[in-house]
């Protein structure tokens, strides 16, 4: 015997409204990432549909919807010029779903709409993987599911769809967690992101350095990286140089890294490290990685380049985490310099300010040793009225370095590093510029060092024949406090560099003092940083290595696939049980004594072959029963009369129920005579 056909659930206005809400949320999730037009168009279509429903107007005809769909495609095409890839893909999904909303009439369309909303949630995660995104995504999931619940609840008014959807979600969390932990992770994509940009786009670091370029970044408090030192002491603030990239070439205005074959590398691999760091790097869209100066052992998947920098195997387009071992203090030991690198480290711009030539000639007359020359330059910076300023004023665009060194003498790290490097090179001392970060703050919540954009820094390294590269930070010669306090001082450094030592300390105090509001803000930021860090570590960046580490820590490293599967199944059963428990019917309302009497009477009568229809009143039942069981007519009548008085009457006699129950129990009716 085959089962019956299924009737289609009629679509109710309430369900439709819930689906509209779900779609509203789904599109709202795309607003920060998509261009203006697709999302706006979706909102307009949604509002239109709602308007039509409220006014009970007919939906637009198929032709109009087709035109709208084509229009939507044109909008997307005009916006992007192409259809492939993430942004245009999601935009098209948004607008076409909005057009689809205009024709939702039956439960079938309703389902399609809900599924499109699921997709939109997934699409949102392609743009951002922050904690708020997950929370909003879960909200979206809840609203879509609530819409489905409303649909299938029909006209039943006792259903609370949002509560039901929350219960479903709650019950599904255990199995989702287990799956998340156990599901095998694969390295690398099956296909590329297809023209989509990464998650970065805010970071300021480019791979070139103009003396003024750092100034843009020092205003930003965005965290760039977090560092945790494993089994070692965090180096003191002046030692916290984070090496990023090395700039070799200059044209007098801009410094470039230059192109160097990968085979020309330093000899740092042989050096011993000492500070093992775990670094969480925010995406910046370039390949370089940062580490405490100077890194000796670099993480797998990254390459060591000349200049003791290391690079990721691809652009950093999402937060990554790596471990790196660094040696703090001292020089980068290198016995000899590759001739190509030497040439690059001595490269000079074609035109050099004659004033500078005179200056260098003077120094060279007295010193020839690289180290003493460097000291001489630093002394020059200290004594010749150089000040630190984030607003150095306009420098001569044809010769900014000469203008800075000879005339304005106002600038910040980029200016000092560039000026120093140029002077050293003119004195035939190989010199290069290193760009990275210096400073950082310790987050009191988890003790990790947080480095921000404001900590961006540039310094120089000079080559000491036969020994290696030595770091020289010309900025520190002007404002030593920069090393101690990092980027937090930026705003006050101008003032500080100009003043006397007493002034400096008072300015410092003022700069470091903060009001209650600022403290609260810092507190929130610290906690938020930590939460974000955990989030990034354990959720967003949960990869093969994290999985491996976690599983071995949980002691289930050796679990085979079958074991994992069994575990997942176990939790599925748990989810099943949990749902049953969450939605267990409220314990059967315990019928009161009178109802029990009546049910008992009913069953007695039914055993005697008399069916009591549920809508029949007691008098009718009594009449029916007396006709059917004439011998017991009197008893039945008395029982039912007592029941009636107790159930419908005005006065309640105490103990009436119990007496009644006894009487019904005693009632003996003949068994069924006729089928």
């Amino acid at each position: 015997m085959s089962g019956p056909q299924h009737a289609v659930m009629p679509l109710s206005t309430r369900a439709l409204n819930r689906m509209k809400l779900a779609f509203l949320f789904a599109v709202a999730g795309q607003v920060p990432h998509l261009p203006f037009w697709p999302t706006t168009m979706a909102f307009v279509l949604l509002a239109w549909r709602h308007h039509l429903d409220r006014r009970r107007r007919p939906l637009p005809p198929p032709g109009a919807r087709l035109v709208l769909a084509l229009g939507a495609c044109v909008v997307v095409y005009l916006q992007f010029g192409f259809f492939m890839g993430r942004d245009p893909g999601v935009s098209a999904l948004v607008v076409l779903a909005a057009v689809k909303l205009l024709e939702v009439r039956q439960s079938r369309d309703f389902h399609l709409m809900g599924y499109l909303c699921y997709f939109l949630t997934a699409a949102m995660f392609l743009f951002t993987q922050e904690l708020p995104a997950l929370l909003f995504g879960v909200l979206q999931l809840l609203t879509v599911n609530a819409a489905f619940l409303q649909l299938y609840a029909g006209r039943s008014r006792s259903i609370r769809p949002l509560r039901g959807a929350s219960g479903l979600l709650l019950a599904s969390i255990p199995v989702a967690v287990v799956l998340f932990v156990l599901f095998p992770r694969f390295p690398g994509p099956l296909w590329g992101l297809g023209g989509a940009g990464g998650e970065f786009g805010v970071s300021g670091f480019s791979d070139t350095l103009q003396p003024g370029s750092v100034a843009r970044m020092v205003e930003s408090q965005r965290a760039v990286l977090r560092m945790k030192v494993v089994e070692a002491e965090l180096p003191p603030p002046p030692q916290r140089y984070f090496r990023g990239l090395v700039l070799w070439l200059t044209d007098g205005r801009t410094w470039y890294p230059g192109r160097i074959r990968e085979s020309i590398t330093g000899s740092q691999r042989r050096a011993r490290g000492g500070v093992d760091q775990e670094i969480m790097l925010e995406p910046h869209g370039q390949r370089w990685l940062f580490a405490l100066d100077y890194p000796v052992r670099v993480p797998p998947g990254s390459l060591v380049g000349p200049g003791n920098v290391f690079r990721y195997h691809r652009r950093v387009e999402r937060p990554i985490r790596y471990r790196v071992d660094s040696r703090i203090g001292g020089m980068i030991p290198e016995p000899d310099l590759h001739p190509l690198l030497r040439r690059m480290a001595l490269q000079l711009p074609r035109e050099i300010n004659p004033g500078l030539r005179d200056l260098v000639e003077q120094w060279l007359e007295r010193d020839s040793d690289a180290r003493s020359l460097a000291e001489r330059v630093l002394a020059f910076f200290r004594s010749a009225g150089f000040t630190y300023s984030l607003e150095p004023g306009n420098l001569d665009p044809r010769d900014p370095v000469g203008d800075f060194l000879l005339h304005s003498r106002r600038g910040f790290c980029g200016h000092y590093a560039a000026g120093f490097a140029l002077l050293m090179r003119m004195a035939e001392v190989p010199c290069r510029i290193v760009a990275g970060y210096q400073g950082g703050e310790i987050n009191p919540v988890d003790g990790q060092l947080v480095v921000r954009d404001a900590d961006a820094h540039a310094w120089a390294e000079i080559w000491l024949e036969g020994r290696g590269w030595l770091r020289v930070d010309p900025t520190a010669a002007v404002v030593p406090e920069r090393l101690e306090y990092g980027g937090r001082l930026n705003a006050s450094l101008d003032e500080m560099a100009a003043g006397s030592p007493e002034d400096r300390s008072s300015v410092l105090r003022r700069a470091m003092a903060e009001g209650a509001l600022a403290r609260a803000w810092r507190w929130i930021r610290d906690y938020w940083d930590v939460a974000r860090n955990y989030w990034q570590t354990w959720v967003v960046r949960y990869d093969r290595y994290q999985q491996h580490g976690l599983l071995s820590r949980l002691g289930v490293r050796g679990l085979r696939s079958a074991g994992k599967l069994a575990l997942v199944l176990l939790f599925m059963v748990f989810t099943w049980r949990l749902t049953r428990w969450l939605f267990r019917s409220p314990a059967q309302r315990r019928p009161d004594l009178l109802e029990r009497c009546w049910r008992l009477l009913e069953s007695r009568l039914s055993r005697g072959g008399m069916s009591v229809e549920p809508w029949r009143g007691p008098l009718d039942v009594s009449r029916q029963a007396r006709r059917r069981f004439p011998d017991q007519a009197h008893t039945i009548d008395r029982v039912i009369q007592t029941y009636i008085r107790a159930r419908y009457g005005n006065s309640s006699e105490p103990g009436a129920g119990k007496a009644l129950l006894r009487r019904v129990r005693k009632l003996k009716l003949p068994r069924r005579s006729k089928a």
């Binding site: 009913e602 229809e613 549920p614 809508w615 007691p618 009636i644 419908y648 005005n650």
Partner: protein, 306 residues
């Protein structure tokens, strides 16, 4: 059944033959201070019924035959200028009676209809600034004939709601009809009817109706009926709260006629047909012969809480 009421029903039954359930309902409607709408063909004994009731209760009776040229003043009454006394003198219309039979109500214009319906609702008449109380008790039996539509103004749904009950007397069964054919003139019989109770006794009975106990179980049941009528997809009209109130009141009156001091589900079920049918199904469309009527289906779909 209450002695007097039983006697009343019986006595009317001697005139209107074979219609005891309907008479019972009419008396219930009267006790519940409701008004009655009878939909039937002419000659089914509506007037005889009204006269019999009026006689047996000693009520003042008047009959208004509605026509399309009737004005509100024709039923309410007019003020006529008295030359001698130099003042207006009010001549009360046929409405000022204790039992009013409004024949073929749907022939009257909506204006006249609403004058009557307002008077029914308010139990008073406002004329030229003075409010005149209608006599008590005040019971209107309106009749209309749905069969002939030409030149009629069917009562709107909102007005139908003002009648507590709608009844159909229907054809008498063959034995009763035979007796009618052979028996004596009904009008003579009515004239010979003796009052069963006085008007005061009737008012006392009417006052007793609200005191009939309505238990929570009954209130639950009535609420279930209301809710079910509203959630039925095939039902375009749900029952209004007024319908619920009317149902309870009619059930109380029925319980009183059964000489009970509490309402039982049966009381609700007995009156439900006449109280709810015209509210659920205002068109009065004819039911199919084997299909159960709407309200019956409704009741059957609601299990009692025991």
């Amino acid at each position: 059944m209450h002695n007097a009421i039983a006697e009343l029903v019986k006595r009317i039954g001697t005139v209107i033959l074979g219609k005891t359930p309907e008479i019972h309902l009419v008396v219930t409607c009267l006790l519940a201070r409701g008004h009655l709408l009878i939909e039937d063909l002419p000659g089914m004994g509506k007037t005889t019924l009204a006269q019999a009731i009026a006689r047996s209760l000693g009520m003042r009776f008047s009959r208004i035959q509605f026509t399309s040229d009737m004005l509100p003043a024709d039923i309410i009454g007019v003020s006529v200028f008295d030359r001698e006394k130099n003042e207006f003198h009010f001549h009360p219309g046929p409405l000022f009676a204790q039992l009013v039979v409004a024949d073929e109500l749907n022939r009257a214009t909506p204006r006249t209809q609403s004058a009557l319906l307002e008077a029914m609702e308010e139990r008073q008449v406002s004329l030229e600034g003075t409010t005149r109380e209608l006599p008590r008790p005040f019971f209107v039996i309106a009749t209309q004939n749905q069969r002939y539509h030409v030149g009629t103004f069917p009562l709107p749904e909102s007005q139908l709601d003002r009648f507590l009950m709608r009844l159909r007397l229907g054809y008498p069964d063959p034995p009763a009809e035979r007796q009618l054919l052979t028996g004596e003139n009904r009008a003579d019989m009515v004239r010979r009817l003796q009052p069963v109770m006085t008007v005061d006794e009737l008012i006392q009975l009417q006052n007793a109706v609200p005191r009939i106990h309505v238990s929570t179980a009954i209130l639950d049941y009535v609420q279930d009926i209301m809710a079910a009528s509203r959630s039925r997809p095939q039902q375009c009209l749900g029952l209004s709260p007024r319908a619920g109130i009317s149902l309870v009141r009619a059930a109380q009156a029925w319980a009183l006629t059964e000489e009970r001091d509490m309402v039982l589900p049966e009381d609700v079920q007995r009156v439900a047909g006449s109280v709810l049918e015209h509210r659920l199904n205002p068109e009065g469309g004819r039911q199919g012969d084997d299909a159960c009527s709407t309200w019956e289906n409704l009741l059957r779909s609601i299990p009692l809480r025991r």
